[in-house]
């Protein structure tokens, strides 16, 4: 019985592996990427901490084969199947993820991700790190954003300008722009990604129902969408009074059973106090009259 279950499980897992192996392909140019620095024991130690926090839940402890039984199986990364990959391949997989593996692009910095690679490599005695290649000198576009609110159009106008080859500034066309509104724990995307037109303009409609502060102000950030990191960009920050003015009262302002005692419902306060005063008034009266008994004795 037990053997059967195991057999079925193995079947399921191998099936899973096959499908996943077919689909998660790393582009060749990404495979060739190497770390921009030489791995040090310090980095490996940092990488271990990051691994334990972010990866161990699924991949298990290194060399213990105690990865989570998922489909596709995460596998133990100290094993040959994982270690056979090139550094760039591992780095790419960490960066992009693939369901159910999360994408770590926004969770771990580039440095963090390389540290994880450094840590993983400590389990491969045959591993020799390829020579680090420092990031090449920048040759891409240099784009600066600016943002305004147009009252007539009721739209946010993002202007992208770029430094041209001749040192002049001109409108940056064809740049993908994302608009974010700042919230307490981070920035939230508003609307879809827009591409700037020939004049370097991208127009955003601001949702009519998005809360602002009590005056309706919202802090916005416009950024260039550049997932491959091929541009140098300067985002634009601005605040406009276009949100829904929001000033909700604190949640404790009502008198209720659960309020603190100063906020008890009036009728409870009254009933309780009155009952205590009346009953104890009688009790005190009785005690007083008992003391009168002594005075009334004759002889």
């Amino acid at each position: 019985m037990r053997f059967n279950t195991l057999f079925i499980l193995i079947l399921i897992f191998t099936a899973g592996t096959r499908t996943s192996a077919q689909t998660w392909v790393v582009p060749d140019e990404q495979k060739a990427v190497v770390a921009p620095f030489k791995f040090t024991p310090d980095m490996q130690k940092q990488g271990e901490q990051i691994y334990l926090k972010n990866c161990q839940a699924c991949h298990g402890l290194m060399g213990k084969d105690n990865w989570a039984r998922l489909t596709p199986p995460p596998g133990d990364l100290s094993r040959e199947k994982a270690q056979i990959q090139r550094d760039g391949e591992i780095f790419y997989r960490i960066t992009t993820g693939k369901t159910p593996m999360p994408e770590f692009r926004n969770i771990l910095s580039e440095e963090d991700r390389w540290w994880v690679v450094a840590y993983l490599r400590t389990f491969n005695p045959k591993y020799v790190q390829p020579n680090p290649v420092a990031k090449a000198a920048f040759t891409g576009r240099i784009v600066t954003l600016a943002m305004q609110y147009n009252d007539q159009m009721k739209k946010i106008v993002v202007t992208a300008s770029e430094q041209l080859k001749d040192g002049q500034k001109g409108p940056a066309a064809g740049v993908e722009v994302v608009l974010f509104v700042k919230r307490y724990f981070g920035k939230m995307q508003v609307g879809d990604i827009r591409t700037t037109n020939a004049a370097g303009l991208a127009l955003f409609e601001f949702p009519a129902d998005l809360p602002g502060n009590k005056d309706g102000n919202v802090a916005l950030t416009a950024m260039v969408n550049d997932p491959k990191g091929i541009m140098k960009t300067t985002p634009a920050d601005a605040a406009f009074g276009i949100g829904v003015p929001t000033e909700k009262p604190g949640l404790t302002e009502t008198r209720a059973w659960w309020s603190h005692r100063g906020q008890a419902p009036v009728w409870i306060l009254l009933t309780y106090t009155l009952s205590v005063v009346i009953v104890w008034g009688f009790i005190l009266y009785i005690v007083y009259s008992i003391l009168q008994i002594r005075k009334l004795s004759k002889g």
């Binding site: 926090k53 972010n54 990866c55 839940a57 699924c58 989570a68 039984r69 998922l70 489909t71 369901t99 159910p100 999360p102 994408e103 692009r105 926004n106 969770i107 910095s109 509104v181 700042k182 919230r183 307490y184 724990f185 981070g186 920035k187 939230m188 995307q189 129902d209 998005l210 809360p211 602002g212 502060n213 009590k214 005056d215 102000n217 919202v218 802090a219 950024m223 550049d226 990191g229 960009t233 605040a239 929001t246 000033e247 909700k248 009262p249 604190g250 949640l251 404790t252 302002e253 209720a256 059973w257 659960w258 309020s259 603190h260 005692r261």
Partner: protein, 323 residues
């Protein structure tokens, strides 16, 4: 590009006059923690006092930003009444203008229990003490089992707070239900009243009690835990004050938790750090609350366990030892 962390509320960084009052309150609040912990006294002592007396007797204190510091006992000043008031205002007052809310996506939970570990570590809890526990649920025999992380629901009509005889547990304006274990008499009425079994009790001496005994009490972390008092999830009130996500939310490797401010209509995923609209998230995914029929009005929402990323497994982790 990847700067998803904003240390302070972005809304308050608006150069608006209206927000200055809020900033002021917040500063007062922050000062309050400092004074309450004695760390601020130390600070001003360092800066303004030229001559310094040292007793040699060192005390360990917790500062407002959660760091442990060593302070000479001569430099610790007892709280006077005003300080107490500030502390009261700041802790019981919560973060002005906020209404914290949590969204738990059941389709992503695979009982990794990272949230639990992070929580137990932060709050000095023993293995069998849960502010956050992942339950293996099956609603009816015919329906599929699923994992359900369960913490305090921070109800807007909290039955636990209603029954407390001494105001030891209370609701804050920002929605958090907190406990002051300096006040708690240990009657456990709140535990009986809570339909979510969210509350725990320190039946025996708390974990590493000797180690933490000199630590100043931090109500927003409920640390150090005290024998004979109730404890529970606090939505990591100490972290929220710093603009950080709760311990459990941050620790989840699978993107289960979203946390945010209902007033901003935004929640941030603890794993991906992606911020999304709360109302849209709930609408698109069929968000619901636990036992809403009880009228407790929870501040925790659940997204149903459909299209699950992970198959359900019976939990195999060891049961904590008997205490």
């Amino acid at each position: 590009m990847e700067d998803n962390h904003t240390p302070h509320s972005p809304n308050e960084s608006d150069n608006q006059k209206g927000s200055s009052r809020r900033d002021f309150l917040k500063n007062i609040g922050l000062a309050g923690v400092g004074v309450a912990t004695g760390a601020a006294a130390l600070y001003s002592g360092h800066i303004f006092e030229a001559k310094k007396e040292v007793s040699g007797d060192q005390k360990v204190l917790l500062t407002q930003d959660g760091k442990l510091v060593r302070v000479d006992s001569l430099e610790i000043k007892a709280l006077d009444k005003d300080d107490e008031e500030i502390r009261e205002t700041m802790c019981r007052g919560g973060l002005p203008g906020r209404r914290w809310v949590m969204v738990t996506d059941l389709s992503k939970c695979r009982n990794a229990r990272k949230c639990i570990n992070a929580c137990q570590g932060a709050h000095q809890l023993r293995p069998e003490q849960y502010h956050m526990n992942t339950l293996q649920m099956q609603d009816t025999p015919g329906t599929a089992p699923y994992n359900m992380p369960k913490n305090c629901q921070h109800c807007d009509n909290p039955p636990c707070v209603a029954v407390c005889p001494v105001d030891a547990t209370y609701k804050r304006p920002d929605g958090i239900v907190l406990i002051e274990n300096d006040r708690c008499i240990g009657c456990r009425f709140c535990m009986a009243a809570c339909p979510y079994s969210a509350r725990i009790f320190n039946w025996i001496e708390p974990k590493d009690a000797a180690l933490h005994q000199d630590q100043e009490y931090n109500a927003e972390l409920n640390v150090p835990q005290k024998l004979g008092t109730v404890s529970k999830c606090l939505f990591s009130a100490d972290r929220l004050r710093e603009g950080k996500l709760p311990y459990c939310v941050e620790a989840c490797p699978n993107g289960v938790y979203y946390f945010g401010d209902e007033n901003e209509d935004a929640v941030t995923n603890g794993t991906t750090k992606e911020t999304v609209r709360l109302s849209k998230l709930l609408r698109d995914n069929g968000g619901y609350q636990l036992m809403p029929e009880l009228g407790t009005k929870p501040r925790v929402y659940y997204l149903p366990p459909k299209n699950r990323l992970f198959p359900f497994e019976e939990a195999t982790d060891a049961t904590p030892e008997k205490v």
